[in-house]
C-alpha cells in the first residue's frame, strides 16, 4: 500500500460558457482563427472564464480537508481535476495511491445489468481485480441492504436502492486516498447515519477531501477546510473558522432586504456586553426600528440565534406578537435579554420580519455576532451539567455508598 497523498499546486482551470460549436458555421471560423493565430493558453476570450483560480493545497495521511462554498464556486471541478477526469489549464495536481471516490456513482450503473453484475463492473472501473471484488461482494450486498434484489436489473431499482448500492460499492474499495462529493445525503435517515459512520471509519490514516453543502458534516469530519468563491480560495483554516466566515458572508449578502412595503423597518441590532461571553451568561440585544403602519397579525418581528460553526439554528422566538406597543406606528427600541445557554463558538443573533401564514421570512433585518468561550463546552446548547464524582473503594461498596467520606467527592457545577 502506497502512502496516499493529495497534491494541488497553483491549479488554474478554464471553462467555456454556452455551446462549443453550434454548427459548421461556427466551426470553420473557429478552426481558421486557431490556425492563423496561436492562441495564448492563459488568455480568455469573451466566452471563457476561470472555474478554478490558483488553488493550492496538500493533504497528507490523517488529514481531512473540507471544501465548502456556494454553488458554482468550483468545488466539484476541483474533485474532477484531482481524480484526473479533467486536466488543469495551468499548474499541477494529482493523487498518489488508489483513489476511493465516494461520488454519486449510481448514474454510472448499466441499467440492463443486475446489481451484482454492476458491482463487478464498477469495481473493475475503480481498478480492483475480479478476485478482490469477489472477496468484498458479500460485504457490499450486506451494506447496501439489497439482499434478494441483487440479481434484479438495476433499471428496476428505486432511486434509494440505486443510491445505496452506489455508496456500498464506493465504500468497500480500500482506497489509499478518499475523495467524497455530496454522497452523504443518500437513502433514508438511518442509512445516512450508517454511511456517515462508514466514512468516519474509512478516514482513519488516509488523506481525505470532502466536498459538501452539509456544513455540520464538514465540521464533524474535517481537520482543515478551505472556503471557495468563484474558483478562488477565500479562506483557509479550521472548519469552524471557514464555516463561520461562509455563513456570515452569506448573511451579509442577504442583508439589505427590508422591503418598503413591510409595516416594520429594522435598522440596528446591538449586543451588550461587547466581549466574549461565558456559557450561561446573560446578554442584551437591543433592536431599533420603526413601525410604519399597524401591522397585520401574521407579520411579526422575529429573532433567532444561529451557530456559525455548523450553520444550525439554535433558537428562534417572536418579539412582537403579544406586544401591543409594536402595533402602534413610530420608532421603537426593543431590549431583549437572553441567556447564552450555548457551547463554545460564534453565534449570530439575527432579526427579521416573519410571515407566519407563509412560514417564511418577509424581510431580513440586521444581525450581530456573539462569541462564547469558557468553560469548555461543545454543542449548540448548554444543558448545565452538574457532575458529582465519588470515589468508592472496594470495602465501601460493601458498606454502601452512603458511607463515603465527603473528602472523596468532587462536584463540577456549570450552573454557578
Amino acid at each position: 500500500m502506497t502512502e496516499g497523498r493529495i497534491e494541488f499546486q497553483h491549479v488554474w482551470k478554464k471553462f467555456r460558457r454556452g455551446e462549443f460549436h453550434d454548427s459548421l458555421r461556427d466551426v470553420v471560423p473557429d478552426l481558421a482563427s486557431r490556425f492563423f493565430r496561436r492562441k495564448q493558453e492563459d488568455a480568455l476570450d469573451h466566452r471563457e472564464f476561470w472555474a478554478v483560480r490558483d488553488v493550492s493545497f496538500s493533504v497528507r495521511p490523517g488529514e481531512a480537508l473540507g471544501i465548502i462554498g456556494p454553488n458554482g464556486a468550483g468545488k466539484s471541478t476541483i474533485l474532477k481535476l484531482l481524480t484526473g477526469i479533467l486536466h488543469p489549464t495551468a499548474g499541477r495536481c494529482g493523487i498518489r495511491g488508489r483513489v476511493g471516490a465516494l461520488i454519486e456513482i449510481a448514474g454510472g450503473f448499466h441499467q440492463d445489468l443486475t446489481g451484482g453484475e454492476n458491482i463487478y463492473l464498477q469495481g473493475s472501473i475503480r481498478g480492483l481485480k475480479r478476485r478482490e471484488i469477489s472477496a468484498r461482494f458479500d460485504d457490499i450486498v450486506a451494506f447496501s441492504e439489497l439482499g434478494p434484489f441483487i440479481d434484479t436489473p438495476v433499471k428496476r431499482y428505486s432511486s434509494g436502492m440505486n443510491a445505496r448500492l452506489g455508496f456500498a460499492i464506493a465504500a468497500h474499495m480500500d482506497p489509499d486516498v478518499l475523495v467524497v462529493d455530496e454522497v452523504l445525503a443518500v437513502g433514508d435517515f438511518r442509512f445516512q447515519r450508517k454511511a456517515f459512520e462508514r466514512l468516519s471509519e474509512m478516514r482513519g490514516g488516509i488523506p481525505v477531501v470532502l466536498v459538501s453543502h452539509q456544513l455540520e458534516r464538514v465540521a464533524a469530519l474535517c481537520t482543515d477546510c478551505i472556503l471557495l468563491d468563484r474558483g478562488a480560495i477565500v479562506m483557509r483554516g479550521t472548519p469552524e473558522e471557514c464555516i463561520s466566515h461562509y455563513v456570515m458572508n452569506g448573511l451579509r449578502a442577504g442583508e439589505p432586504q427590508m422591503d418598503a412595503s413591510l409595516p416594520f423597518h429594522l435598522h440596528s441590532l446591538e449586543v451588550e456586553p461587547k466581549r466574549a461571553l461565558r456559557s450561561g451568561e446573560w446578554f442584551t440585544a437591543v433592536l431599533r426600528g420603526v413601525v410604519r403602519e399597524p401591522p397585520p397579525s401574521h407579520l411579526r418581528i422575529g429573532m433567532r440565534v444561529r451557530a456559525l460553526h455548523n450553520a444550525q439554528k439554535v433558537f428562534a422566538f417572536d418579539v412582537s406578537r403579544l406586544n401591543p406597543l409594536l402595533s402602534r406606528p413610530g420608532p421603537f427600541e426593543a431590549t431583549v435579554e437572553l441567556q447564552a445557554n450555548v457551547g463554545n463558538g460564534y453565534f449570530s443573533v439575527e432579526s427579521s420580519v416573519w410571515d407566519a401564514t407563509r412560514r417564511r421570512e418577509a424581510g431580513s433585518g440586521p444581525h450581530a455576532l456573539i462569541r462564547v468561550s469558557e468553560p469548555e463546552l461543545v454543542g449548540n446548547t448548554n444543558l448545565h451539567p452538574r457532575v458529582r464524582v465519588r470515589m468508592i473503594s472496594e470495602d465501601l461498596v460493601v458498606a454502601g455508598p452512603e458511607l463515603a467520606p465527603e473528602a472523596d467527592t468532587a462536584v463540577l457545577d456549570h450552573r454557578s
Binding site: R5, E7, Q9, H10, W12, F15, F20, H21, V27, E41, D42, L44, W50, R53, D54, S58, K80, T83, G84, I85, L86, H87, P88, T89, A90, G91, R92, C93, G94, R96, V99, A101, I103, E104, I105, G107, G108, H110, D112, L113, E117, Y120, L121, S124, I125, R126, G127, L128, K129, R130, P153
Partner: protein, 314 residues
C-alpha cells in the same frame, strides 16, 4: 476583477519542502515513445481487468431481453449471405450459367468479417457518448471503451465463424492446410477495425456528425468492398482498384485460403471472360497488414492526445 495570469508550476513549487516528483508535469507535451509507453503500460496493461470486464458487459448486455439471444450473432451474417445469394442467383441467371455452391460458401465467409467490421464500427463509434456518465464521473483509460466494443463484436463473430465453418463442412466444403492464414487475417481485421473505431469514437465525442457519416459509410461501403462479389469480375484494372480498399485483401484472403485452398504467399491468376486477372499477390497481404498497423497505432495516438478534453466536450 482583473484576470490574473497563471504562474508556471515549476517556479511556484520551488523552495517548498514537498516531494512532488510523482505529480504529472505541468507541461504535458511528450514524445511519441513516451505516449506509447503510457498507453500500453500504464493504461492498457494495468487496466486489462477492466477491459475484460467491459467486454463481458458488452456481450451480456447486447442480447439481454432478446428472445433470440446469441442466435443473432449468426443470424445477422446469415441475412447478408441470403441477400448476397439472391444477387448471385440473379447474376448467374442473367449470365446464363449455374450458381456454384463454392461461390455461396465463399461469400458466406466474407459476409462474416464484413458484419464484424460494420457491427464494431457502429458500437465502437458510440461507445464514448453512450457511456458519457462514466466518462464524466470516474477516471479510467478511455481507450478501453472502443477497444471493448471491438472485442465484444469479435466474440460475436467467432460464434458466427464457428457455426459457418461447421455448416460448410457438413455441406462438403473441403478445408486444407492453408487455413492457417485465417488467424493472421483475423488479427489484421481486428487491428484495423480497432484503429478505425478509436478515431471515429473520439471524433463522435466532439462532433456527433461522425455517427451519421459512419452510417452512410457502412451502408454504401458494401458496394466498394468485395463481399457479395469477387474483384476479378471487374477485369484486370477493376480488380486492382477494388483491392486498394484495405478490407478487400482481408476478405479475399479469407475466401481464397479457406474455400479456395490457396496459399497466400503465392500469387494467383484467374482466367475470366475479361482475360487473365491477378486475383492475389503476397503484396496484398503486406498492404493490408501495413494499413492495420498504421491505423491501430495512429488511432491510439490520436485518441490519447484528445483524451484530456473528453470530459469537457462529451
Amino acid at each position: 476583477m482583473s484576470e490574473p495570469t497563471p504562474l508556471s508550476a515549476s517556479s511556484s513549487s520551488a523552495g517548498e519542502d514537498i516531494d512532488d516528483a510523482w505529480l504529472p508535469p505541468a507541461d504535458r507535451r511528450q514524445s511519441l515513445l513516451q505516449d506509447y509507453r503510457e498507453i500500453f503500460g500504464r493504461e492498457l496493461w494495468e487496466h486489462r481487468g477492466l477491459l475484460i470486464e467491459l467486454v463481458r458487459r458488452d456481450i451480456r448486455v447486447r442480447y439481454k431481453q432478446a428472445v433470440m439471444g446469441f442466435a443473432w450473432a449468426v443470424l445477422v451474417p446469415t441475412l447478408v449471405v441470403v441477400a448476397g445469394a439472391l444477387v448471385r442467383v440473379a447474376m448467374a441467371y442473367v449470365g446464363g450459367r449455374r450458381l456454384e455452391f463454392q461461390e455461396v460458401a465463399g461469400m458466406a465467409l466474407k459476409a462474416l468479417p464484413w458484419s464484424f467490421f460494420t457491427g464494431a464500427l457502429n458500437f465502437g463509434t458510440n461507445s464514448l457518448t453512450v457511456n458519457s456518465n462514466l466518462v464524466t464521473k470516474i477516471y479510467f483509460p478511455r481507450e478501453i471503451l472502443p477497444l471493448a466494443a471491438t472485442l465484444a463484436q469479435s466474440f460475436d463473430s467467432s460464434i458466427g465463424l464457428g457455426v459457418m465453418l461447421l455448416v460448410s463442412m457438413v455441406l462438403g466444403v473441403h478445408f486444407g492446410a492453408t487455413m492457417i492464414w485465417v488467424p493472421v487475417l483475423a488479427l489484421c481485421l481486428v487491428l484495423f477495425t480497432a484503429g478505425v473505431t478509436l478515431v471515429t469514437s473520439c471524433g463522435n465525442l466532439f462532433f456527433r456528425d461522425v455517427k451519421y457519416l459512419v452510417q452512410v459509410f457502412v451502408t454504401f461501403g458494401i458496394f466498394f468492398t468485395p463481399v457479395l462479389f469477387e474483384p476479378e469480375m471487374f477485369g484486370p484494372l477493376g480488380a486492382r482498384l477494388m483491392m486498394l480498399n484495405p478490407l478487400a485483401p482481408i476478405l479475399e484472403g479469407l475466401r481464397l485460403s479457406t474455400v479456395g485452398g490457396h496459399n497466400l504467399l503465392e500469387p494467383l491468376v484467374v482466367t475470366t471472360r475479361h482475360g487473365a486477372v491477378l486475383a492475389w499477390t503476397p503484396w496484398y497481404l503486406a498492404y493490408t497488414a501495413v494499413w492495420a498497423m498504421v491505423l491501430f497505432m495512429g488511432g491510439l495516438i490520436v485518441f490519447h492526445r484528445a483524451e484530456p478534453k473528453f470530459a469537457e466536450y462529451v
